[in-house]
Symmetry: C2
Subunit: 220 residues, 2 copies
Amino acid sequence: MTWSRHGGAFERRGYHHGNLREALVEATLALIAEKGPSAFTVAEAARRAGVSPGAPYRHFRDADALLAEVALRGFERLEAALASAWRDGRPDPVSAFETLGRAYLAFARSEPAYYAAMFETRIAAEDHPPLATASDRAFGLLRQAAERITAFLPPENRPPSLMMALHVWALSHGIASLFCRPDRARRSLPMAPEDLLEAGVLLYLRGLGLAGGPPPAKES
Amino acid sequence: MTWSRHGGAFERRGYHHGNLREALVEATLALIAEKGPSAFTVAEAARRAGVSPGAPYRHFRDADALLAEVALRGFERLEAALASAWRDGRPDPVSAFETLGRAYLAFARSEPAYYAAMFETRIAAEDHPPLATASDRAFGLLRQAAERITAFLPPENRPPSLMMALHVWALSHGIASLFCRPDRARRSLPMAPEDLLEAGVLLYLRGLGLAGGPPPAKES
DNA sequence: TGTACATCAGTGAACGCGCGTTCACTGATGTAC
DNA sequence: TGTACATCAGTGAACGCGCGTTCACTGATGTAC
């Protein structure tokens, strides 16, 4: 099974793969995207990477380590996506915050396999310290954003920024979990998940005393 | 392996089990509670029920059917819990609504195995119509409650009750998923999940123009 | 530029395992008479 | 009350399967000289 080195659809493969670690991560993502996280097996990932079943163990201690690597990268990508959406609060914190929320959902929608690897697998963050760290960093961003937002409120009416961050995270995650899965199409929605989240965050901010004005028009 | 029929810790078992269907459901719940939904197997459930590996197939077509039965019962129990919390909007819709939210979380916390069977398994509701129906009924309750709440608002400021129900459901589910799992203890919280949800719903209602007054005091 | 060699990424066969499911069977239960 | 029998819930052995992981090995790569 040696494919031509420079021609055809299959680029690779002499004896050495050359980039097996990456190929396994990609195969795992594809597998999860197609059949859900419970369908992941090392053997199948190896098969898709075009490699014998023992090969992955040169790169990952065991099956969970591969899964954890995928989840880790997912958190890193999420953090990057959130950071670039937040843009340090520009043009203004409130609208940047809306963008942040949309970015969260966009990530869940456009990278469902990463999302599933992060939140729907058997691996526990506490068993994989880098995972916990990456998750904390992503959440930290949300927390900082909340800090900036609540700073607009007079101190006596200012809610803990941690609480606000948790609320928004939970709402985003809830919407993503319930409505953004392509495989098991959940309850159909009268509006896009992003709009649902934006409306929810807007109402929440109004509840805090921010982003005043009349209630938003009916969306649907 | 015939245990005494009336003595000792083990009550059951002549040749017939007598209540195997129930025993399998319970074994499945215990299994999920202990090791997570991915650890469920028919063989292990049969073992825990004290029965040979083929026996479950007298009661369930296959492994998924057993899992779907557990999820179905979960939705029915959730619906019952929500209905009894809502109490048809008494004493008043807004405070009954708070109680409803707490009941949702209480369910996720006190019945984590049911909750996992409902939301974290491979089974898809569309493949099991009764499951979809039960899920719709539970959500319908939330929707009715939202209807009653939004009725307090003047029509020109009244948001779609469906949207409100979706927001609250997503927030509740998000909090439950992120913070109410006993097995994989997630991020630690500065407050109880129930209080986090209550504060969130309160702020949301204020954003809608209900439950006015000053912002709640800091919770933590 | 050429050669020897260390390194190490992959091979492929093998292992033991537990699973889902089937099937001919057995024995308990309860109904008809 | 007693007996024959249909029913059907469980048995237990068996099947084929795919998995995770190991291991002695092979062959490609790149470095030292």
